[in-house]
C-alpha cells in the first residue's frame, strides 16, 4: 500500500479555552481531495489554518512524505497554496500585478503562466483593472487564479465557491480536476457541493468529529 503524501495524526486544536477538534487523524494521497464540512464554527477554517502552520496545534503532527512539517516550515509553506476567507489581494494593484507579486513572494515567477491562470478564470479582460473596482465574484476568481498559478502540490481552500456564479464554479472545478489529475492534493472547507467525483469528506461537528472518508 502506498503511504499517503499528507498524514495528519492526533491533531488537536483549542481556541479561547474551547476544544475545536480533538485527536483528528487522516491521510491524503496524490490526486485526492478532502472536503471539510460542518456547521459554522465547527472548526473547518481552524483545521485549514493548523495544517498551513498559521495556527499552532495543541498536539499532534502533520507529516508530508513521512516527515514532520514542523522540522522545516519554510519548505512546507512552499508546498502550499492558500485561499482564505479573505482574498489576499491589494485593492490598489491590478489583477495582473496582484498575481505577479503573489507568485514572486512565493519565490517563483509568473511569466507565461500568468496568461493561462487569467484565462482559466475568464480574467483576461480584467488583467489591467485595479482589484478595488472588481465585484466580489471577480475578486474571488482572481484569488483562485493565484492558487492555480502557484503550482503548489497542496491547495488549502476556505469556501472556494463563495461569491462565484455558475460559469466561475465550473472554471474552478475544471482547475481543481486538472490539479488533482496532475497528482496534486486539495483540502477544501465548504458548505456547497464541490462536484468532484471521488472526493473524501470529513464532517466536523460542533467540537466532535466524524470521518466519512
Amino acid at each position: 500500500m502506498v503511504p499517503p503524501l499528507l498524514e495528519v495524526k492526533d491533531l488537536s486544536c483549542r481556541r479561547g479555552g474551547r476544544t475545536v477538534f480533538d485527536r483528528l487523524s487522516f491521510g491524503l494521497g496524490a490526486g485526492q481531495l478532502l472536503a471539510l464540512t460542518g456547521r459554522n464554527g465547527s472548526g473547518k477554517t481552524s483545521l485549514l489554518r493548523v495544517l498551513a502552520g498559521l495556527t499552532p496545534p495543541e498536539s499532534g503532527t502533520v507529516a508530508w512524505q513521512g516527515v514532520d512539517v514542523a522540522q522545516d516550515p519554510e519548505t512546507w509553506r512552499g508546498r502550499l497554496a492558500w485561499l482564505g476567507h479573505l482574498e489576499g489581494l491589494k485593492g490598489d494593484l491590478t489583477v495582473a500585478e496582484n498575481l505577479g507579486v503573489a507568485e514572486r513572494l512565493r519565490g517563483g515567477e509568473a511569466g507565461d503562466r500568468l496568461d493561462g491562470a487569467l484565462v482559466a478564470f475568464d480574467l483576461g479582460g480584467l488583467a489591467a483593472r485595479e482589484v478595488r473596482t472588481l465585484s466580489a465574484g471577480q475578486r474571488r476568481r482572481t484569488a483562485l487564479a493565484r492558487v492555480v498559478l502557484s503550482q503548489a502540490p497542496l491547495w488549502l481552500l476556505d469556501e472556494p465557491l463563495n461569491a462565484l456564479d455558475a460559469p466561475a464554479q465550473a472554471a474552478f472545478r475544471t482547475a481543481l480536476q486538472t490539479h488533482l489529475a496532475a497528482g496534486g492534493l486539495a483540502i477544501a472547507a465548504t458548505h456547497a457541493e464541490l462536484g468532484i467525483d471521488g472526493a473524501q469528506r470529513l464532517d466536523l461537528r460542533g467540537g466532535g468529529l466524524r470521518a466519512e472518508a
Binding site: L54, T75, G78, L86, E87, L89, K90, D92, L105
Partner: protein, 221 residues
C-alpha cells in the same frame, strides 16, 4: 526578484498609487513645525534653541501617524496570511515593510527638516546636522514603530496604544538626535551623537525584525 525586494517594491508602488497618505504625513510635519515660530514670534535665539527638539518631536509624531496602517492593511485584506505562508523568513518581510515605511516617511522628513529649520533661524551647519541626525535616527523610529504596530495589530484603538508603546522606546533616539544640535551650538562636534544614533539604529535592526515577526505570527493565529 527576491521576496524581500518584491515586498519592498509592492509597498512602494502602493504608496505611489495613493500619494495622499504620505502627503498627509508630510503636511502634518510642516504644519506642526511651522506653528511654533508663528506662535512664539520673532524670538530668534529662543527658536534656534528649541528648533531641534521641535523638529525631532514633529518628525516622530509624523512617523507614528502612518505606522498604524503598516501591517493593518495586510491584516484586513488577507495578504498578511500570504506573507506568513511565504517560503522565506518572515523577519525579512518585517524588515522590508519597515524599510518601505522609512523610504516614504523617514527619508522625506529628513530631507524636509533642514528647510523648516530655516524658519527657526538655524545656521547652515546646524541645518546640515539636523538633516544628518534625522537621516541616521529615523530608521530606528520606523523599526521601533513597526514593532509597536505589529504588537497592536487587531487591537481596538490601536493608534493610541501604538503611540504609548513606541514613544518611550524612541526617547533615546530623540535625546541624542536633538542633543546633537545643542552640542553643535556649544561649539562641539556631533560625531559622538551621530555614532550613538547609528548604534541605536543597528540595535533596532538586529532585534526588531524578530520581535515583529513573532508578533505578526501571534496576530495571524
Amino acid at each position: 526578484m527576491s521576496g524581500f525586494t518584491t515586498l519592498l517594491a509592492r509597498d512602494l508602488r502602493l504608496v505611489l498609487r495613493r500619494p495622499g497618505d504620505v502627503g498627509v504625513v508630510l503636511a502634518f510635519f510642516v504644519v506642526a513645525t511651522v506653528l511654533f515660530p508663528l506662535g512664539i514670534g520673532p524670538e530668534t535665539n529662543l527658536l534656534a534653541r528649541i528648533a531641534a527638539g521641535v523638529l525631532w518631536c514633529a518628525a516622530l509624531f509624523a512617523a507614528l501617524l502612518s505606522l498604524e496602517r503598516l501591517f493593518a492593511a495586510d491584516y484586513e485584506d488577507g495578504t498578511l496570511d500570504l506573507l506568513l505562508l511565504a517560503p522565506w523568513p518572515l523577519e525579512l518581510a518585517a524588515l522590508a515593510k519597515c524599510l518601505a515605511h522609512w523610504i516614504v516617511t523617514g527619508l522625506p522628513l529628513s530631507l524636509l527638516a533642514p528647510f523648516l529649520g530655516v524658519a527657526f533661524g538655524l545656521d547652515g551647519e546646524s541645518l546640515l546636522a539636523l538633516g544628518a541626525t534625522l537621516l541616521v535616527g529615523t530608521p530606528t523610529l520606523s523599526l521601533i514603530g513597526g514593532l509597536a504596530a505589529a504588537l497592536t495589530l487587531g487591537a481596538p484603538k490601536s493608534g493610541a496604544l501604538l503611540a504609548l508603546l513606541a514613544l518611550p522606546l524612541c526617547v533615546p533616539t530623540l535625546i541624542f538626535g536633538a542633543g546633537a544640535i545643542e552640542t553643535l551650538a556649544a561649539g562641539d562636534g556631533i560625531v559622538t551623537h551621530v555614532a550613538i544614533l547609528a548604534a541605536l539604529a543597528l540595535v533596532a535592526l538586529a532585534t526588531t525584525p524578530w520581535a515583529i515577526a513573532a508578533a505578526l505570527r501571534q496576530a495571524g493565529e
